[in-house]
């Protein structure tokens, strides 16, 4: 029933509202200012992305723990001394992640199995945080095409990736593009609710925000596609929206982004971040 929403989610780049907002922006000016903002006491952040790249064994995995920091701080706040364990609840296998004393916890014997469910348990400061996810598969990229006409800017180089969506199942995708020396990737999400069983396509063009850094022949783009759960798709949707809102007078009221961690003993003391288990495809494309 929610097809139209999906169209808008698919085309996250074309944010209708921000476009419409342009007419207000014609008269407007957006600039950085010095603004004092409040600070809340730190919370645990668990970045647990167990991605199994097609064609690899997927044995080496890292989970990062940190504490949240004041908004303007630039230094990270890594957490060591925690216990991090992942269990495959489908077959009972347990993987212990070793503390590297720099905020990262690693294992070298993780066994990824499609459609198996994994449970993460982190114990830190006598509080236990848990989350569950199922390893979701992803299709190969069929082809990548480059052009100049595809995007909103007719002079800019752009590329389109194509991949098959399996029929008879509901699929969600997370796609990242990292071009050249860009600091941050361009994030996209897609759902097949509108295009189930078809060949999916997604266009990538450098963001306006980055106009000076024009794409030239010879530039490389690092492309990753992840098969993700609906819950993670929703999480990413809000994460992306939050990042896109700069200067948009019609942005929705911002809200706190909660992941999938729960703290059963002390629900108030929840953790940020997300526990995902995915299959992924990586491809590096060089513009011609």
């Amino acid at each position: 029933m929610k097809y139209i929403i999906n169209i808008f989610k698919i085309e996250n780049k074309i944010k209708v509202l921000s476009l419409i907002g342009l007419s207000a922006i014609i008269f407007s000016c957006t600039e950085p200012i010095d603004l004092t903002v409040p600070t809340e006491s730190p919370r645990l952040v668990i970045e647990a992305s167990l991605d199994w790249e097609k064609g690899t064994l997927g044995n080496n995995q890292t989970i990062k723990l940190s504490l949240s920091t004041p908004y303007y701080d630039t230094a990270p706040n890594p957490v060591s001394g925690a216990s991090v364990i992942v269990e495959n609840t489908t077959n009972g296998d347990v993987f212990i992640f070793n503390d590297q004393q720099d905020g990262s916890y690693t294992t070298t014997n993780f066994v990824p199995i499609i459609n198996n469910t994994y449970n993460l348990e982190v114990i830190y400061n006598n509080e236990t945080y848990t989350a569950q996810e199922t390893l979701i598969s992803v299709s190969e990229i069929n082809r990548i095409e480059q052009s100049r006409e595809g995007g909103s800017d007719e002079e800019e180089l752009d590329l389109t990736i194509y991949f098959d969506d399996p029929a008879n199942e509901v699929n969600f995708y997370y796609i990242t593009f990292l071009e050249g020396e860009d600091l941050l990737p361009t994030r996209e999400i897609m759902s097949d609710e509108f295009t189930n069983g078809n060949e999916m396509s997604l266009l990538y063009e450098e963001d306006e925000a980055d106009a000076e850094d024009e794409i030239l022949p010879g530039d490389e783009v690092d492309i990753n596609i992840f098969g993700v759960s609906e819950q993670y798709y929703n999480f990413l949707n809000r994460l992306i929206e939050q990042g896109d809102n700069a200067g948009d007078p019609f942005a929705t009221v911002p809200t706190r982004l909660r992941g999938n961690y729960i703290n059963p003993e002390n629900p108030e003391n929840y953790a940020f971040g997300y526990f995902r288990v995915t299959e992924s495809v990586n491809e590096v494309y060089t513009f011609e």
């Binding site: 990062k64 990270p76 941050l184 948009d248 982004l257």
Partner: protein, 831 residues
């Protein structure tokens, strides 16, 4: 005799109203049957009261007629008409009609209003008299700029039980300096106490802590759904076509219904019936032309007004906007024809459009269209009536070239209204009538825009509804000092079938995820289909309205009021500012009608023969069933809005002060508002603690302090200067309280909803008007208006967003400001 007639009329209206219902709720739940006996009881007791009143009056005669302006024949609204030396009197209604009943005798009839020459006419009231009078502008006051020209009659307004109402004439609206010289009604009313908006570039306005969709905006009685061009930068009302504007801030008369916060009643000019008149203006943004002329040997007249921005206004401004078209235009039309003394018909219409096209990206346009056919009929000396058939529509279309999709959405309504004014006696005036509105909502229809488009055509559920209203209201002078107004409105709302409604497990469209502490979509279990003949849901509400005024001295009074209002239509919007793409929805299975109670109390005083006046009002307002949105709600193109909302409540209270100088070379006003507006939502059926843990939080339009100073100084016949100064507490927003790192990016941790505020908003505007010739016999009258908006170039934040810099990776606070200092010049002419 007369009361039978009223009863007949009401019965007639009632049976019309009733039929409509019966048709639509065959075999469905009938909770109206509970309501009807109750309101019949009210009705009967009111009738008895009326009869007794009429019986007491003896040997009385009536004088009635129409008051119009001598220069152009426009009927004048709100002119005081009274009998000298008595407290018997009235004010003209929207059609210039008055009727006064008094005991047999000799009187002097006084017609008076600021800005017009007072007329005194000796009358011998030994029989019923018809007397239509033309009044002329007061030449002695031409040196002054008259503000709030109407209803400021010297004796009467402090007696009227109406509280929280402001009338503005087109000339008052013009005096305030405007952005780019575009005179803007919506901006002018924001200078009044209790009225604010969400800053520059946001559509609509907020009254007494109410939301934008809680204002009933009427242009010649037609509902206007979107009041702005250019996303709030300019209003849709072309001032040249407007006669006057009445804003009811809370004590909403019983004849209005359907919105809880305010009524903005805008009336278009009827058109000059004496001679051809041209009005126009050339500004930086747009040009205007208005033509008025008599028709049918001065039995009628017309007005046609057009306004348009210059073609491709901004295309040269920015390189990115080459070959783009960003513009707006609007057309106002009004004609009238006087069949005879007792019958007059009017046709008025509005058409406005915004166009926003950017090559290769987006093609969009949106706007309102309305039409109203009216028949004024005077039954007899005491009974005035108006029948209106009104059509109104708001729609938008977006073609996204990139996605090859074409999206349209609209809301249409037809409204049939019959209103009566019965001037029963010198102590009693009764208004009553009925209204039926049929709504058709098309929340979204999507089609492929090219032949190769992969988009499948799709239509969201069309919604249909019928809103009925029946009211009686009496202005009753109980003693010389005490006047009361009792009103009662009965409103009904039928959500009509012709679509399916989704069912949810445990009847929960939204569920609380206990583990994650968030609200999310419930589980759909199926659908219930309703045929076009069925009613999905029915609502009925009794809305009492009560006002009392007590005269303390000749120059001061106190007033109190209680108003209950119901609102069945809701605008879905969870963005900081209302956007043109926001969609209206009806009350129904999962969305309940908003019900509001407002208590207001006021003190009014005039000084120095009305040269100065002071108004102080306080109010307390509660609203049930205010829609609130769960975190991250997605509203656009959503067929199942119920999965994104909770029914909450709102409350607002405040103190409003207004001090005015009404006469002299220097005129103006200072208004100050101290207010609070909050809302909260418990989980209710969805479980959980509710939004923001069920705590009260600031409504987006909460402003603690709001001060406006407006002044006009008439230096010479040629030069007039004016200025505005505005200070407002910043609007509530949500700031970060931290960040966390995720996948190499910084993610903002936001505070509780609306827990922070933008920096205070303030600015100063000035303008000068130069009239090169003041020779009264010269037809062509021109004037230059020079203005500077935001004189000291204050960088007011329209919004502040929080982002990680794309190039440096450092977190920033980004402030978006809309208008800095803007000088402008425009030329207006009159012929």
């Amino acid at each position: 005799m007369n009361h039978n007639k009223i009863k007949e009329c009401i019965e007639a209206c009632r049976s019309y109203h009733g039929q409509k219902h019966n048709k639509s709720h065959k075999g469905y739940c009938n909770h109206d049957s509970l309501v009807k006996p109750l309101y019949m009881k009210y009705f009967i007791s009111l009738s008895i009261f009326l009869i007794s009143n009429i019986l007491i009056a003896q040997e009385e005669y009536t004088i009635r007629g129409t008051i119009s302006d001598k220069t152009n024949g426009e009927t004048v609204f709100g002119i005081a008409v009274y009998l000298k030396g008595t407290t018997i009197g009235t004010t003209t209604n929207e059609y210039g009609f008055y009727s006064i009943t008094a005991p047999k005798g000799e009187y002097t009839l006084v017609i008076s209003s600021l800005g017009y020459k007072e007329i005194q006419e000796k009358i011998s009231l030994v029989k019923d008299i018809r007397l239509s009078i033309e009044i002329t502008e007061d030449l002695n006051t031409l040196d002054e700029v008259v503000i709030t020209a109407t209803e400021d009659s010297k004796k009467l307004n402090i007696r009227k039980p109406q509280i929280g109402v402001t009338t503005l004439s087109a000339s008052t609206i013009k005096i305030a300096p405007a952005v780019m010289g575009e005179v803007d009604l919506i901006k002018t009313i924001q200078l009044l106490p209790g009225v604010t908006n969400n800053g520059e570039g946001s559509a609509g306005f907020n009254v007494r802590g109410g939301a934008v969709d809680q204002n009933l905006v009427l242009l010649d009685e037609a509902i206007i759904y979107n009041t702005s061009h250019f996303f709030g930068l300019f209003s849709v009302f072309n001032n040249d076509a407007i006669k006057n504007v009445k804003l009811y801030k809370g004590d909403i008369p019983a004849k209005f219904g359907g919105r809880t916060a305010s009524v903005l009643d805008v009336r278009q000019k009827e058109g000059n019936n004496k001679r051809l008149e041209l009005n126009g203006g050339i500004g930086l943004i747009s040009s205007r032309l208005t033509v008025e002329a008599p028709l049918f040997k001065k039995k009628g007249s017309f007005l046609l007004a057009g306004r348009t921005t210059y073609a491709q206004l901004f295309s040269g401004l920015l390189d990115d906007l080459r070959n783009s078209n960003i513009s707006f235009y609007d057309i106002n039309l009004k004609t009238n024809y006087e069949i005879n003394e007792n019958n007059k018909i009017y046709l008025s219409s509005y058409f406005g459009r915004d166009v926003f096209n950017i090559v290769n990206l987006i093609d969009s346009n949106y706007g309102n269209i309305s039409a109203n056919l009216r028949w004024n009929h005077v039954f007899n000396d005491k009974l005035f009536s108006n029948l209106s058939l009104i059509y109104s529509k708001y729609d938008y279309q977006i073609i996204l070239d990139f996605d090859q999709l074409d999206w349209i959405s609209d809301i249409t309504n037809y409204n049939l209204k019959y209103d009566f004014g019965y001037f029963a006696s010198d102590k009693l005036k009764i208004d009553f009538g009925a209204s039926g509105i049929s709504y058709n909502l098309n929340p979204g229809e999507i089609t492929p825009s090219t032949q190769t488009s992969p988009i499948n055509p799709l239509t969201l559920d069309q919604k249909r509804a019928f809103e009925g209203g029946l009211y009686v209201s009496a202005d009753h002078k109980i003693t010389d000092k005490l006047t009361a107004r009792y009103g009662l409105r009965h409103s009904t709302f039928d959500r009509l079938g012709g679509q399916s409604i989704t069912d949810y497990a445990n009847n929960q469209p939204v569920i609380y995820n206990q583990e994650l502490g968030i609200y999310q979509e419930g589980e759909a279990t199926g659908e219930t289909a309703y045929s076009k003949e069925q009613t999905i849901e029915k609502f009925g509400n009794l809305e009492p309205r009560l006002g009392l005024s007590y005269v303390l001295t000749d120059n001061s009074s106190i007033k109190g009021s209680y108003t209950r209002t119901a609102q069945y239509m809701h605008l879905l919007s969870n963005t900081a500012s209302v956007t043109p793409l926001d969609v209206w929805t009806t009350s129904g299975t999962y969305v309940k009608p908003q019900l509001s109670n407002q208590y207001a109390f006021g003190y009014y005083k005039k000084f120095n023969n009305n040269a100065y006046s002071l108004e102080a009002e306080t109010y307390y307002k509660t609203t049930q069933n205010r829609i609130d949105y769960i975190d991250g709600a997605s509203l656009i193109g959503n067929n199942n809005i119920e999965t994104e909302i909770l029914n909450g409540e709102a409350r607002a209270y405040g103190l409003e002060l207004m001090f005015r100088k009404n006469k002299g070379r220097y005129t103006g006003w200072i208004s100050y508002t101290l207010a609070k507006s909050e809302q909260r939502s418990f989980g209710g059926n969805a479980g959980g603690p509710g939004i923001n843990n069920g705590n009260w939080y600031n409504a987006p339009f909460d402003r603690t302090h709001d001060i406006s100073i407006t002044g006009v100084y008439k230096l010479t016949d040629k030069w007039t200067f004016s200025a505005n100064a505005i200070y407002q507490t910043g609007r509530p927003v949500t700031y970060p309280v931290g960040q966390f790192e995720y996948e190499g990016s910084s993610v903002v941790i936001f505070n509780e909803r609306n827990a922070d505020r933008l920096p205070a908003y303030h600015r100063l505007d000035i303008s000068a008007t130069y009239k090169p010739n003041r020779k009264p016999n010269k037809q062509w009258k021109g004037e230059w208006v020079f203005s500077i908006y935001n004189l000291y170039n204050r960088q007011n934040a329209a919004s502040i967003s929080f982002n990680q810099n794309y190039n440096t990776g450092v977190n920033e606070a980004l402030r978006t400001t809309i208008f800095g200092i803007i000088p402008s010049v425009s030329y207006n002419f009159k012929f």
